[in-house]
């Protein structure tokens, strides 16, 4: 860390002087605002915590159109992996930030370092489109009860989103269901029976041994395919690592639910029956994907975005019948899959402006433009006349564009830039613009058009149009008062973060151990884990999290006070 001392003395100075500059800008002095002239070209630096392999430095069609309309060029850097945590730690240590940042869960670090500016007044003055899309009640965007500033504009999820398709639940190859005569399946036992029967009939597929069920436990993916499903399959609400009592808002690690233990006991049973891939906990992400792509993994418990790559290669190599269907299975028939429970307007992950930005007003104006109808259609559909056409007031993609989009997606996205500019708040699937067309390109006709024939056959057998039709609808559940807990900024105090990290280390060690144990050892290993998760520091961590949930519910229940 060379020259740290220099930075440590100079950066606060720089921050101070910047604060003075922005303070002038905010003091509603009209002459100051003239400086943010939108006709002047400007380059905005940006860091995104998620990888983006198709970013093309705005040389794509949509990017060119954006620069033409706003005179803004975004100079973006995306994290390669790791969700930006390390990169953002280094930023806060050095005090050097890009103008705009998408910090994901690391937002707490930036706020603690005083790196993000409060957007409340900026949105109020310069954000008519942002307010139009999000709604006037911005209270949900406030950071916390102690600090009711708005630091990020949510960009990770669409407002008013109506999902038309399901990507989670339990997956079974469409070929397997076809051969079994499309049985009605409701519980994990049905799942087990189907996999077992098919495996006995077909011990090998394409000359290699059949794998009835494989999971992906590489790094954080263990949460997606091993631990989260324990909640989803037992009627719990998806809130990340915690189980939150909807009445008292008390949070506990969800592993402490007795239902969780039964789910893991079932996985233990699957392993001992020889149905769960013994390599589940040692294989790497790419090994998992290559097994799926070979067409011999009958069942998964995953999210489509995780195994999409492998499914795409199944399609291109002519094994469309080996693609997967999604089923909302439960441990017992008495519970329901909560995947589609409404979490209210999106909060959490979004884009903020840092103290390093020289012209926050210009940036917020840009972000506001990105929330306009024009920009949203541009980002989702591309350039009119090139990527889509308006015929009799109906927006549609020509067949050859559609074809490239499905079969040559990476190159197409690089060239067109479609969907790459989610820089501001936007409408989700199922929302229509003033012309009566959908803002996004995900709507039922389009989704069904993207299904393979075996998928369509399976859906027809179950009397459904999309996989979502098999899942309980969002109307069956109340709206969650705290949104989705995994999207909320978790406490940043070391007494919380250290205990939380320890709990994760314990869980990721003990759960695989318990699943791979012999059935009579399962209880003692699981109980040992619960004991390790019940120490004083763990209880204190849970209490801190409960408090955060309570504060959130309280904060959101009051409209944002005008300043």
């Amino acid at each position: 860390m060379p020259g740290k001392w220099l930075k440590r003395t100079l950066v606060p100075l720089a921050v101070l002087s910047l604060a003075a500059v922005t303070a002038c800008g905010d003091s509603s002095d009209p002459t100051q605002m003239e400086t943010t002239d939108v006709s002047q070209p400007i380059t905005i630096s940006f860091f995104g915590s998620d990888p983006n392999a198709t970013w093309n430095n705005m040389k794509d069609d949509v990017g060119q159109a954006i620069t033409k309309a706003t005179n803004v060029t975004v100079n973006a850097e995306y994290d390669v992996s790791g969700g930006g945590t390390q990169k953002i730690s280094l930023m806060t240590a050095s005090g050097e930030y890009p103008d705009m940042i998408f910090p994901k869960g690391s937002i707490t670090k930036l706020v603690d370092a005083g790196a993000l500016i409060d957007l409340t007044d900026l949105i109020d003055k310069y954000g008519p489109n942002i307010k139009k899309v999000y709604g006037d009640d911005l209270s949900r965007l406030q950071y916390s009860k102690e600090d009711p500033s708005i630091y990020v504009i949510p960009t990770n999820a669409g407002v008013g989103q109506t999902s038309f398709d399901a990507g989670g639940g339990f997956e079974i190859q469409n070929e397997v269901m076809k051969e079994m005569g499309y049985p009605k399946i409701k519980t994990v036992n049905d799942f087990e029976k189907v996999l077992k029967a098919y495996k006995e009939k077909h011990p090998t597929i394409n000359g290699q041994p059949t794998i009835p069920l494989s999971l992906n436990a590489d790094d954080w993916k263990i949460m997606i395919t091993v631990t989260d499903p324990a909640v989803n399959a037992t009627g719990g609400t998806p809130d990340g690592e915690f189980d939150i009592n909807p009445k008292t808002y008390e949070a506990r690690l969800h592993y402490k639910r007795p239902e969780d233990k039964e789910y893991f006991r079932w996985l233990n049973h699957m392993y001992n029956e020889g149905l769960l891939d013994p390599e589940t906990f040692t294989q790497k992400n790419d090994q998992y994907l290559s097994k799926i792509a070979s067409g011999r993994v009958l069942g998964l418990i995953d999210q489509e975005w995780d195994y999409q790559q492998a499914e795409n290669s199944l399609k291109t190599s002519g094994m469309a019948e080996r693609t997967y269907g999604h089923y909302p299975l439960q441990m017992t028939e008495s519970t329901k899959d909560h995947s589609f429970q409404d979490a209210g307007p999106p909060v959490g992950y979004g884009i903020g402006i840092t103290t390093s930005a020289k012209d926050p007003i210009r940036i917020i104006k840009f972000l506001d433009w990105m929330a306009s109808d024009e920009a949203q259609v541009l980002n989702n559909w591309g350039v009119e006349g090139k990527h889509y056409e308006m015929k009799d007031g109906k927006r549609s993609m020509p067949a050859e564009i559609q074809d490239r989009r499905v079969n040559d997606n990476t190159n197409f996205t690089r060239e067109s830039g479609i969907g790459m500019y989610n820089f501001s708040v936007r409408y989700g699937d199922g929302v229509k613009d003033p012309s009566g067309n959908y803002y996004t390109t995900n709507f039922p006709e389009q989704i069904v058009a993207g299904y393979t024939q075996p998928e369509k056959d399976a859906l027809k057998a179950y009397g459904a149009t999309t996989w979502k039709d098999l899942f309980p609808a969002k109307e069956e559940f109340p709206v969650k008062e705290w949104g989705a807990a995994y999207n909320l900024p978790a406490p940043s105090d070391p007494s919380y973060t250290v205990a939380f990290q320890k709990s994760q280390d314990i869980v990721r060690k003990r759960i695989p151990e318990a699943i791979l144990a012999s059935p009579d050892q399962f209880d003692s290993i699981y109980d040992q884990m619960i004991a390790e998760l019940s120490t004083d520091d763990m209880k204190q961590m849970e209490a801190q999290y409960s408090q955060m949930i309570k504060d959130t519910v309280e904060l959101w229940s009051q409209p944002v006070a005008a300043k």
Partner: protein, 326 residues
Amino acid sequence: MESTTKQASSRKRDQAASLNSRKTGGFWKLFKQQRYLYLMSVPFVIWAFIFSYVPLWGWLMAFQEYKPARSFFDQKWVGFDQFITLFQDQQFYLALRNTLAMSFLGLIFGFIFPVIFAILLNEVRGMVFKRTVQTVSYLPHFVSWVVVAGIVTKALSTDGGIINELLVSLHIIDQPIQFMAQGQWFWGIVTASDVWKEMGWSTIIYLAAITGIDQEQYEASRVDGAGRFRQMWHITLPGMRTTIIVLLIMSIGHLVSIGFEKQFLLGNNLVTDYSQVLDLYALKYGLEMNRYSYGTAISIFNSVISIILLFTANGIFKKTTKESIM
């Protein structure tokens, strides 16, 4: 750590130079004589100062509850709190054990194999064969650990992995072994892949040392009736001794800082008790949580251990073999 050794050795050299100068009539005379040498070393002294001494200022962080974006004077001083937390954490001791175990294994095998390989390679007479073997053996050095980890996991897989297939077809085992799932195998797997990857590369320096051995010694021994093995034992090995010892002492200084790529890439949740190393621990519980002070405390601990190990090793070798780096 590397820097500390360098500083230490350069300091020694300076002292030696000044001692010499006192004998031959004054430091300034010598300085004048060797002024171009001094001039040439200036950039490196500045380099060492900037990159090795200036950052030591950051060590103060370990005694604070450091928060970013605050001036040095606004930080909260906490004395030895960070160290107390560190020494009370069970995981730290686990990480320390794993680090030392894997680095000692790496040290032992990472020395024995290249030395033996260099000697054997030296005995090969066919030049083409020798060069081919050498090139093939050091190529893995240029492959990144990400790729090596992929190869190793695939080779040890129970699902068509080459090692298991081989063992099963030779009837050594009936059932494929889950190599990657056994904690007790992990140190061995790491050491073996390390040896495979680095053996050829480390051999180069020993081969160079062997080239420096006077050929007359071999001729003399042949006249005295020494066979191939006697020559290796009495001439080649002693001829390499200085190189081996210097390299050994330097690696001992690096024992604690073995990095974490191997462990991070080869490890999985089932073997964390054996794969967690200090650098990984510092990354996870320090930097990733913005606990800069805690991370600094860990690195101070590392440096102190490294210096102790280095001086101990150096002292032992100095006493027993009269070879040392300072």
